[in-house]
Amino acid sequence: MNLSRRHFLVLAPAAAIAWKAVLAGTPEQAENYKMSEHWWGMLIDDPKCIGCGNCVKACATENDVPDGYFRTWVERYHVEDEDMTNPQVISPDGGKEGFPVAAEDAGKYFFVPKMCNHCSDSPCTQVCPVGATFVSPDGVVLVDPKYCLGCAYCVQACPYGCRYIHPEKKTVDKCTLCYHRITKGLTTACCESCPTGARQLVDLKNPKDPIHEFLKTHPAQVLKPQMATGAKAYYNGLDGSVR
C-alpha cells in the first residue's frame, strides 16, 4: 500500500482521535480509582442537543430505569417571540422516542436535556432522615437502596424533579452519573450515546479537563441558580425561559 505524504497528513489526526476514543472505552481498573482525585459534574452544551432521545434510551437500558420514570429526560421548549415567561414545553415519554414535528413556525424551538444536577449543597441529601442519600467524596449524589426508607422527602426537596420512588424496589431512585462506569474510567451512558456531544462528563478536580477553559469562555449557567444548591450540571447557551 502506497501512502503519500498528503494522505498521511490527513489520516494521522483522524487516527489519533480514533485511538483516543478506543482508549476512552478501555475501563480503568476500579482499584486504581481514587475518589479524592475527582469532583464530577456534567457539561450540557444545549445548542448541540437535537432531541434525538438517545441519551434517555441509553440511560434506561444501562440503569434498568422503570417505564414512566426518568433518570434523565429531554424537554422541548417553544418560546414565542417576547413571551419568555410562558414557554410551551413538552417531553413525551421523557423525549425517549424523539419529538413530534413542530407545528408552528412562530418563535423558537430548542431542546433541554435534564438530569440530576449532582448538587454539592444538595437539598435532597439534607432532608434524608437516615442519610441514605449522600454526596460521595467525588461529588456524585447517590442513594443506598438498602438503607432508604422510601419516605419520598428527598423527592419533595429536589427542585429539579430528578427523583422518583422506584415502583418495585419502593426506594428512591435517581441518576448516579453512571457511577459504576465513571469509576472505571468510562463516561456515562448518556454522554456516550449522544451523537452531537451535547453532554460531556467533566471532572472539576482535573486541571487538564477542558471544562475549565470552556467555563471561562462560554456563557454557561446552572438551572435555578436562586436555589443555591451548588448544582454541577453546567448548561452552555441556556435560554432564559428554561425552568
Binding site: 432532608v127 432522615p129 437516615v130 426508607l149 419520598a152 422527602y153 424533579g161 425552568r243
Partner: protein, 392 residues
C-alpha cells in the same frame, strides 16, 4: 397524559405524599391542641375547663398512639423506620420525628397522665379483680403510696411536666410545620410562617376536638354539660382561631402582594383544583363561618341550648376546616410542577395501603383507643346520672 395540564417534569406526575400524610399533621395537631387545652387548667389555672382536663390528656394520648401509623403505612420500607432512631441524619428535619414523638409520648404525656391518675390507679388496683387488678398493679409501677404528702409531690411534679409539656407540644407540631416550611423547592410550602400557622391551627383543632368529645361523652353518660366549661373553651377557641386566621391571611396576602415567579401557578391552582378545598371548605366553611358563629356567642347573650348547638356546629366546621388546611398544604403542594408550567391531579384510591378506606380507619381508630382509655382510666368521678330521670 391523563390528569396533567401544561407541563410537569416527567417524575412529578404522580403524587408522592397521599392522604395519609394529610392525616399525620391533622392527628398530631389534635394531640398538641388537646394538650394545650389541658395545660390551661394545670398551669394557667383556668378552673372553668377542669371538667375537660383528664379527657383532654386521654384524647391527646389516643391520637398520639395513632400518629405514627399513617407515616408507617406510607413508607416504602416501614421495617427500616427504626433506623431513624439508630442512625438519624443530623441535617434532616424528619429525623427528629422519632425523638420528638418519643419525648412527647413518654416524657410528657404518659408521665403526666400517670402522675395525675396514680392515686386512681392504686385505688382501682385495690378494688378490682383478676386481670384488671394485675393491669392496674403494673400501671402503678409499684408506687402505691397515696399519702397526702406523696400526692402533693405528684401534683408538683405534674405541674412541672405540664410546664415542660407546653413547649413540647409546640415543638411536636411546630416541627411538623417545619418539615413542610423548610422545603425551598416548593413555594407553596416554603415559608417561615408555616410552623407558627401549624401550631395555632393545631390548637384550634385540638380545642375544638376536645370540646366536641366532652359534649358528646357527657351527653352519652346522661350528665349535664357544664356550660361554664364549654363557654370558656369556646372563648379560647374563638381567640386562638382569630390568631390562626390572621396568620394564614398574612401568608396569603404576602404571597398575593409579592407575586413572585410561583404566584401565577399557585393562583391558578387556588382558582381551579383547590377552589373547593381551599376557598370553600377551608376558608368560608371551615374558618369564617365558625368564627362568625363564635363571635355571636361572645357578643350576644344566647340561650344555653342555642349556644350548645353553635358550639357543636362551630367545632365540627373548625375540624373540617383544619383538615382541609392540611389537605391543601400536603396535596395542594404537589399538584403543580416545580417548573411552574403545569398541574397534575390527585386520584385517591379506595382499597389500597394509602387509600381512603385506610385513612377513614385511621381517623376513627383514635376514638376506639380513647374509648378503651376512658374505660381503663375514667376521667370523671363515678356519680349517678344527674338528669336521666328528668330526660326520661
Amino acid at each position: 397524559m391523563t390528569g396533567v395540564e401544561g407541563f410537569m417534569y416527567p417524575n412529578e406526575v404522580g403524587l408522592q405524599w397521599s392522604v395519609l400524610i394529610v392525616l399525620y399533621p391533622f392527628i398530631t395537631g389534635l394531640v398538641a391542641g388537646a394538650f394545650i387545652l389541658a395545660s390551661l387548667e394545670r398551669v394557667f389555672h383556668v378552673e372553668a375547663v377542669k371538667p375537660t382536663y383528664r379527657l383532654a390528656l386521654l384524647t391527646a394520648l389516643a391520637f398520639l398512639i395513632v400518629a405514627p401509623l399513617p407515616l408507617q403505612l406510607h413508607l416504602g420500607h416501614p421495617e427500616r423506620s427504626p433506623e431513624m432512631y439508630f442512625t438519624p441524619h443530623s441535617t434532616s428535619a424528619m429525623a427528629m420525628f422519632g425523638y420528638v414523638y418519643l419525648w412527647y409520648l413518654m416524657a410528657v404525656l404518659v408521665f403526666e397522665i400517670w402522675l395525675d391518675y396514680r392515686k386512681d390507679i392504686v385505688l382501682l388496683s385495690q378494688s378490682s379483680k383478676g386481670l384488671l387488678k394485675v393491669m392496674y398493679k403494673v400501671m402503678s409501677l409499684g408506687s402505691d403510696n397515696i399519702s397526702p404528702r406523696a400526692l402533693h409531690i405528684d401534683e408538683k411534679v405534674g405541674w412541672i411536666v405540664t410546664l415542660i409539656g407546653i413547649p413540647s407540644a409546640f415543638l411536636l407540631h411546630g416541627y411538623v410545620g417545619f418539615i413542610f416550611g423548610s422545603i425551598k423547592a416548593n413555594p407553596w410550602w416554603s415559608s417561615p410562617l408555616m410552623p407558627v400557622v401549624f401550631i395555632f391551627s393545631a390548637m384550634v383543632s385540638g380545642i375544638a376536638g376536645v370540646m366536641l368529645i366532652y359534649m358528646a361523652t357527657t351527653k352519652l353518660r346522661g350528665r349535664t354539660i357544664d356550660m361554664r366549661c364549654v363557654d370558656t373553651i369556646a372563648m379560647y377557641l374563638f381567640y386562638i382561631f382569630i390568631i390562626d386566621f390572621s396568620l394564614e391571611m398574612l401568608d396569603l396576602i404576602h404571597r398575593i402582594y409579592e407575586a413572585d415567579e410561583s404566584f401565577r401557578s399557585l393562583d391558578f391552582m387556588v382558582h381551579t383544583q383547590l377552589y373547593i378545598p381551599h376557598i370553600v371548605i377551608q376558608i368560608i366553611l371551615g374558618t369564617v363561618t365558625p368564627l362568625v358563629l363564635l363571635f355571636v356567642t361572645q357578643v350576644v347573650k344566647l340561650p344555653e341550648q342555642i349556644r350548645k348547638r353553635i358550639y357543636v356546629i362551630s367545632g365540627c366546621l373548625a375540624l373540617m376546616g383544619i383538615f382541609a388546611m392540611r389537605w391543601n398544604v400536603v396535596i395542594g403542594g404537589q399538584l403543580f410542577s416545580k417548573s411552574f408550567l403545569g398541574y397534575t391531579t390527585y386520584k385517591m384510591t379506595l382499597v389500597t395501603r394509602e387509600g381512603s378506606l385506610v385513612a377513614i380507619g385511621l381517623s376513627i381508630l383514635p376514638l376506639f383507643i380513647l374509648w378503651a382509655l376512658i374505660k381503663l382510666l375514667p376521667p370523671w368521678a363515678t356519680e349517678p346520672p344527674t338528669h336521666t330521670a328528668a330526660a326520661d
